[in-house]
Amino acid sequence: MTRPTAQVSAAGRGAAAPEGVWPWLRRRAADWAPAVVLLGICVALAVLNPAFMEPRNLVRVANSAAIPLILAIGATFIIAMGSIDLSVEGVMSLGTMIVAMLAANDANANDFGWWAPLLAVLAASALGAVNGVVHVGLRIPSFMATLGIWFVGRGIANTALGGSAVRVMDPSIRDLALHRMFGMPFAVWIAIACFLCALGVERLTRFGRYVFAIGGGEDIAELSGIAVRRVRVMAFTLAGFFYGIAAVLAAAQLGQSNAVIADGRLFMTVTAVVVGGTALTGGEGGVLNTLIGVLIVGVLANGMVLLGVSPYVHQAVQGLMIIGAVALSTRRSRLQFVK
């Protein structure tokens, strides 16, 4: 189905080309802006501090981008529907808590080995599904439903942890993030695998197309026979699944679970998705955009460290980046009223 349409649009584009390269370029400029920005930042950093281009530093950038990428991939499907998921930190706290409490740890006698990460991902997916069911079933806006679930997840995690940090003692679980393969930490490879899976889901499955159809215009999607409510619940479940994987990696990377392990993740996730060019109004962007967005945020963070800027400034810069990116990507003619 998709292939002929692609050819038609390519042909259409070819036919339009003689009319002028500039209009076409300008139309495409918005799509390429995030990639150009990323390239610009990389070049600038390489000039300002040659240490940026050292392989050791690039590995560091990749490693620190792994968990944000997986979180942001999950959130991409939600934002592409025109919804929002504020529960990132809650779901992630729950996941890391389960990994730490079920694997060999210093708080109890459990040692369930590989069941621990598996159950963590399962529980995170379940909480994601709860997000979707509450949002669709009670018909309340997603930002409110997920705001509530954010604190439910955090509450469960903190209650189980009792306010203390629990260390993960199982070396094979810690290796999930730390073991190196071809010079890269395993966490990076898992993130790449997640990215490819998500790209496949987005481009090659009916579900992926439906998500963007709903984001583009929910009434039309509904009239075309898409089971909108089911797709919404599925998307929130999928998002929970990715948060769960990120949670396992966070627990493995830091070797513990504590009350603040997920703090600041929501902010970073939304920044990355939006900076990558996925519009908050839904229907545009995708996981490829999100990859670029995560790299922009990650490279910038790394660059600030290299240039000796206070890490606190970085959070403020991220906030400004959200505003700038959303302001640029919103097609104002489309919305009369914004709440």
Binding site: I140, S142, M144, I149, F151, G162, A316, G319, L320, F337
Partner: protein
């Protein structure tokens, strides 16, 4: 027709009255289960606790009335606490208005970003909240700033009491009266309700929608900062994470009180009831030995439930 109309009026009345009923039931229930609860000191403490939460929630009420949301209130309150703690030795009493003005400025900025760039308010305030949290961390180097002996004397207007009534309660009452007057008797208050009830209609009748919204966010920022100042004076310290657990209870107080998240319906008076309910539920859970962390689960679930009950679904044909 009349029966339908009267039944609808009855339903609306019940919806408005149910938070008050819930509050009465909670007070009577806890009062009979734990007789110590009805003692004057306990009630004074409860009301002082509620006052800080109420001040923040009262500001949020204005934003929610116009159909928006402000997720930056906790960051603003924390920043205000840092500003007060750091500047009291330098500026003296002027540090208090300085902190509140800073909050007001952030609120106005959030409103401006929201309406000018047409960014949904929850994202705009998430972003400004991030900027503000960064500023607070930067200003305090990520540490708690203690208010010293001299500063504590200057903060007595918050921590002291007048004729046996804790000042915090009086401040909360002042904010309540001020908020009610602004909502009932000023054009701004009427415009806010009109915008929340139906933005296109409000816009078409010549209401300056953008300006009204920006003012609403300004009030939210200013009152959030006041809440931060009260908190700092009470705890004799400021910190970039001081108010971090306040966002959820504040939103819960507004919504549980009966202000609809869709805007147009609600008032600061309802938020008083909502804030009292939140405080009493919290104290009640402590009486029942519910783990302090587990209380978050209850509040999260209660928030979702309250939103589901109060929301006006005719206003949002597509729930995103």
């Amino acid at each position: 027709m009349t029966t339908i109309a009267s039944r609808m009026a009855g339903a609306a009345w019940l919806r408005a009255a149910s938070p008050v009923l819930l509050l009465v039931v909670l007070v009577v229930g806890i009062g009979s289960a734990a007789p110590g609860f009805m003692r004057l000191e306990t009630l004074g403490l409860l009301l002082s606790d509620t006052a800080v939460l109420f001040v923040m929630a009262a500001g949020l009420t204005f934003v929610i009335m116009v159909g928006g949301i402000d997720l930056s209130v906790q960051a603003v309150a924390s920043l205000a606490s840092v500003v007060v703690a750091q500047w009291l030795p330098v500026l003296g009493y002027a540090a208090f208005p300085a902190a509140i003005l800073a909050g007001l400025a952030v609120g106005l900025l959030s409103g401006f970003v929201h309406v000018r760039f047409r960014i949904p308010s929850f994202v705009a305030t998430l972003a400004t909240g991030g900027v503000v949290a960064g500023l607070a961390l930067l200003a305090s180097h990520g540490q708690t700033v203690t208010i010293l002996e001299a500063g504590r004397a200057q903060a007595r207007w918050v921590s002291g009491s007048l004729l046996g009534v804790p000042d915090l309660i009086l401040i909360g009452a002042l904010v309540a009266v001020g908020g009610l007057i602004v909502q009932r008797f000023t054009p701004f208050g009427r415009y806010s309700a009109a915008i929340g009830a139906g933005e296109p209609a409000a816009w078409a009748s010549g209401i300056r929608v953008e300006r009204t919204k920006i003012v609403a966010f300004g009030i939210s920022g200013g009152l959030a900062a006041l809440a931060g100042v009260l908190l700092a004076a009470r705890l004799s310290s400021g910190s970039p994470t001081l108010a971090n657990e306040m966002l959820l209870p504040a939103i819960a107080a507004v919504v549980v009180g009966g202000t609809a998240i869709t805007g147009g319906v609600g008032s600061v008076a309802r938020t008083i009831v909502g804030a009292l309910i939140v405080s009493i539920v919290r104290i009640g859970m402590t009486f029942l030995n519910v783990n302090i962390f587990a209380q978050q689960i209850v509040f999260g679930a209660a928030l979702v439930l309250a939103v589901a009950i109060t929301i006006d679904r005719t206003k949002i044909p597509i729930v995103k």
